[in-house]
């Protein structure tokens, strides 16, 4: 029960971090802008710390790596954006591309 409560707190902190990241990014000049980002940073640190106390399942070897999923999430996202930036040169066309082709 105690663990459940702790997890719920973590999850709520996660949601708060998620929303405040939006606010902080969208309104960098807001008078609480720095506060928003501090909360986000706090939630990130807490997530990594929480991971240290967890007995990870051992289905795959990489789950032993400290903060594996944090690293994975960060690098997967970055990879995705860079890949999309590359694909854009090849796939993105003007909005009326098909119209100009007459189809």
């Amino acid at each position: 029960m105690k663990v459940d409560l702790l997890l719920a707190v973590l999850a709520i902190l996660g949601i708060i971090g998620y929303v405040f990241l939006f606010l902080g990014t969208a309104e960098p000049r807001h008078r609480h802008g720095n506060l928003f980002l501090t909360i986000v940073a706090f939630s990130l640190i807490i997530m990594v710390m929480a991971g240290l106390f967890v007995q990870w399942p051992a289905e795959f070897a990489w789950q032993e790596v400290t903060a594996f999923y944090a690293i994975f999430g960060f690098s997967a996202f970055t990879f995705l954006i860079y890949a999309a930036k590359g694909l854009r040169l090849w796939l993105s066309k003007d909005e009326d591309y098909y119209k100009k082709k007459g189809v």
Partner: protein, 573 residues
Amino acid sequence: MIGWLHPGFILIIGALFVPLFKGKWKQAYLIIPPLAALIDVILMYTGVFGEIPFSSWHLPFLGYDLVFGRVDKLSFLFALAFSLASVPVMIYSLHVKSSSEHMCQLVYAGSALGVVFAGDLITLYFFWEIMSVASMLVIWHGATENAHSAGFRYIMWHIAGGIILLAGIVIYIASTGSITFDAIGWNSGSTYLAAMLIFLGFIINAGVPPLHAWLPDAYPESTVTGSVYLSIFTTKSAVYVLARGFTGFGPLMWLGAIMVIYPIFYAVLENNLRRVLSYSLINQVGFMLCGIGMGTALSLNGATSHAFAHIIYKSLLFMSVGSVLFRTGTAKITDLGGLYKTMPLTTIFCLVGAASISAFPLFSGFVTKAMVVQASAFGGLAIVYVLLQLASAGVFEHAGIKVPFFTFFGQDSGLRVKDPPLNMLFGMGIMAFLCIFIGLYPYPLYQLLPYPVDFDAYTAPHVIESLQLLLFASFAFFLLITSGIYPPEGRTISLDTDWPLRLAGGKFIWFVKGPLTSFSNWMDGNVKRIAADFSLLGGEKEERVFIGVSVMLALLFLAFYLIVELLYQWIFS
């Protein structure tokens, strides 16, 4: 008890009476068919003390017994999802005045329920085709040139899929002698061919790449409410039939794994929010197909419960983007931004949908997707597991960040529009409530799943793993966008697998309009000229022309037959 009442027929017959009502009466009436269908489905469940009754409608057809109503755990779950979603979606679309739009949408929803309850392949095909046509009409109600042409392209895909399915069904019935729709064997001879054709017909409707291009092409072109309906039924009924017929089919797992990855790149590139959500839809269906392909009890539970949760949060996302479209007249990221100040409620609903699809703990996607991912881990499928996790980051990128951020936060567009009308807010509110309810309290949903559930999503590793992944992905987003690396949206579209087809189609139409028409005019001229030579035979001029043309047609057919016959002899001898 008067026996079993088909909820699909409630919607389809209910649709017929829509034009009889006007104004407030119409709004009052419109809510009745979906509500009645939902109550009908729920009563099916509680009717026999927790046991699901197996009652059927039988109808003889060509000597076969058609089964319109097969109710078991699998069909019940999908029917419940469809009818449960129909009610808030109807509330959301109550302001729409067009009777025909409501009728098409109700028939579409009803035919999807027909597919779900179909116990045999003929009934399945019957409702499958109604669903195609009804959904095309839903797209056409977009009433723009784009909607019109996208609707045509849509129906071409689905007619092709339907014919393939029909061919498969005919061969299947001929070789097995049975029309029952159950797990479809693919082991030997003609059954193998039949199973593959049926499978192909199914995956076209599921939107498996590279056969998915109709989906992001057509769904964004419908009306505000039409897109919400479209996001629910076609793909999920395909998930249902695949779960019924092809559980544990290995290739399906790999198709699902490709399907979760392929669209996430497109979703990053797209400017039209509804198209982003369409790609996201393909990605989510990928999780389900992957789970069905794995074929373990856990993965199937995951796939079906994910379909249930997905129907709710995806329609919520389409609703919130629809509300923006409704108020601003655009769903393009380049025109939007900074709406959260004036549309606070829509923003919150969108964020609930976004958190659900991204599988944040406490939201619906978390408790369902975890099962599919966990099943891949238990199965030791490392590659699939990594692909699914990568796709989770991808979903978070487009649906969790891109859609809410660039619409409601992001660069201020200067648009100052209010939240949508009360009925739309109410519809979204119900969906948002369901997202959070399933997330917090998944046990009622777990009880409805095909297999007994021995799974708890809320374990420490699971929650922390998800939160780490999501929050650090959003941290990457923060770094990329503040450093200007994140690609800014442009007024672009992205070429997809339909590119060669569309260009070839354009060339074909050019060929028909140009060279072929000229050639046929030239031939007509020749025919008339030669026919006139028959004037030597005497009689009225029209008669002579008629005789001449007949003789020439007969000669043409004979020549054609001769050529075919010779070719046949040449090839097969």
